[in-house]
Symmetry: C2
Amino acid sequence: MTSHVCLTARALGAHGVIIADQEDKVVESTIRDVTQRFGGPFTVSSGVPWRKTVRDWKDSGGRIVHLTAYGLPLPKLLPQIRKSSSDLLIVVGSEKMPGEVFKVADWNVSVTSQPMSEVAALAVFLDWYNQHEEFDKEFSEARIEIVPSKNGKEIREVAGRD
Amino acid sequence: MTSHVCLTARALGAHGVIIADQEDKVVESTIRDVTQRFGGPFTVSSGVPWRKTVRDWKDSGGRIVHLTAYGLPLPKLLPQIRKSSSDLLIVVGSEKMPGEVFKVADWNVSVTSQPMSEVAALAVFLDWYNQHEEFDKEFSEARIEIVPSKNGKEIREVAGRD
């Protein structure tokens, strides 16, 4: 599940992920490998306690979006979130999210008020936040790329990279 | 992962899910339980071989969308998919999807040409297919519903149910 969150974040335009609390070298290495092959930039780190992560983020002027089915609807909150020029930390997690997270978040955002997957919530949030334009996103220093195809599986090496 | 796919499908407007090949009574019961509490309609079944599922779907006039990073971009294919009035079977799966699926699909659709989560791809596909309007979707016969809230967790019973 963690690697699905990370791949979704990368593909849909986030600049990096922080896997809080638990160190996870396997996921870190999987995601770095994808970034080396398919391009970046995209950072990944793990093991920092979530409270410290959130505090440091706020201390450096960033703001916090917490994705939860209990929050206010995305269409209602998105205009003010987009208007903020701060760096955003998007918090997603399991059902056992500590209540404190709801308080420290600048925005508790629901992607539908239904039980759902945090991967799905993150995907729809990022797609809306990036105004449905991530299909045009360019990744730097990719070694390989997928060639869109009607019904095949085609990958090509990217020229100009040793 | 399977239950994340099912919950995403339900929350974002699909009418049901078919878990192909493997019977999975645990996920079936989890999803039925969510549907009984939060409303439907939403069907779930499992254990039918994927080839039979696809053949039956096509025989009854339905069409097949296969979500894969290798496909043609969603923004390019969506207009023709939406123009088709057929029932759609959206196929998602693991990396080990049989090559045959690419051939039987009416459309191989990529939600970005990047390695991603099938849950994320399904979420973005359904959101676009439903024209970003699933926040207004009404579920029937819900017993409980989430009350959107700034920073709390509020659930209320739905009146008028036995």
